[in-house]
């Protein structure tokens, strides 16, 4: 699983492999942990500030109360 997620992260999978892998990400917390870890490694390698301080979880919390608005264009806001 981890090797496939590594390939997915780099968009190096075949077209027909994408959907099952995104299902895996959706349904398995371990896969999401792995996704998080690999993004963190990539960002740290690129020299970005990486802290495991719950930043993304605070964004998720805010997003829980937000809906997609069909006529809203964020670039015109």
């Amino acid at each position: 699983m981890n090797e496939k997620l590594s390939l997915l992260m780099d968009s190096e999978v075949e077209e027909n492999e994408v959907s099952p892998l995104l299902d895996l990400l959706k349904n398995h917390p371990d896969a999401r942990d792995q996704w998080t870890m690999m993004q963190m490694i990539g960002d740290a390698t690129r020299g970005l500030v990486v802290a495991d301080d719950g930043f993304s979880n605070r964004i998720f919390e805010k997003l829980k109360n937000v809906e997609i608005e069909p006529s809203y264009d964020p670039l015109a806001d």
Binding site: S11, E12, M37, I41, A44, I59, K62, L63, I68, P74
Partner: protein, 239 residues
């Protein structure tokens, strides 16, 4: 000739997403021909995640947040220097992106679209606060392709605990990279730092693409093993 061959192929491609990806690649005249071909052949995971999120899959959008949060925050930090404000504006940019997800049609990459939202949000924030753009931002440097990343050394981190955590993670990654076999370190560096495709890396390193896959995966597993002890205390932050 190269471009016209690709344009001809574009009319034969089966999915809208693939056509958009190929058109996006063709419109990006900074992309080298070899990379254009590589990118055209491969599915774009961001577009696939956006497509799912547009259809109500919130976890798909969360996966995009995890993927882009630091680069977005980094871009915003070039306009706004106070860390808490950078976090607030980054959150606002993601919220705007989610609200307006239907307006994203794949004409540019998701990364570029999100970056534009982030820059606009940062500028609006400064206007609302009646503050000026940083001097270097007044010279037209804030264009949409400005994704240049700043180093940890240049980061403005006020919270001592966060600074320590950031340093520990940075040091653990650097130490793990040092102990990697040379060919694994090279493959991972070419991928993460230079953004090379696996095919390009295979060409550069003179090995099959399958070997590149294994090297990059093994390198990530090695670094992940070094990072896990630092992250274990925060396992309750699963999403």
């Amino acid at each position: 000739m190269f471009s016209s061959a690709l344009q001809f192929d574009a009319t034969q491609l089966p999915t809208t997403v693939t056509k958009k990806r190929l058109n996006s690649v063709l419109m990006d005249n900074k992309t080298e021909p070899a990379k254009q071909l590589d990118a055209a052949r491969k599915p774009d995971v961001d577009l696939e995640l956006v497509s799912r999120a547009q259809n109500g899959d919130r976890l798909a959008f969360n996966a995009l947040v995890v993927r882009h949060q630091r680069r977005l925050a980094n871009a915003i930090s070039r306009f706004i220097r106070i860390p808490q404000e950078v976090e607030d504006v980054t959150q606002e940019a993601f919220i705007k992106a989610y609200r307006g997800l239907k307006s994203f049609r794949g004409d540019s990459s998701f990364s570029t679209w999100l970056h534009r939202i982030g820059v606009n949000t940062a500028k609006n924030y400064l206007v609302a606060q009646k503050r000026k753009l940083p001097a270097h931002r007044l010279k037209g440097e804030e264009d949409d392709t400005d994704w240049q990343e700043t180093s940890l050394a240049g980061a403005n981190i006020e919270d001592p605990e966060r600074l320590l955590m950031t340093q520990q993670i940075g040091q653990a990654v650097a130490a793990a990279m040092e102990t990697l076999p040379e060919n694994e370190r090279t493959a991972l560096t070419l991928r993460e730092l230079d953004g090379e495709s696996y095919e390009s890396i295979a060409e550069i390193m003179g090995c099959p693409v399958g070997t590149v896959r294994s090297r990059i995966f093994r390198a990530r597993e090695h670094v992940a093993k070094a990072l896990k002890p630092l992250l274990e205390p925060n396992r309750n932050r699963r999403w």
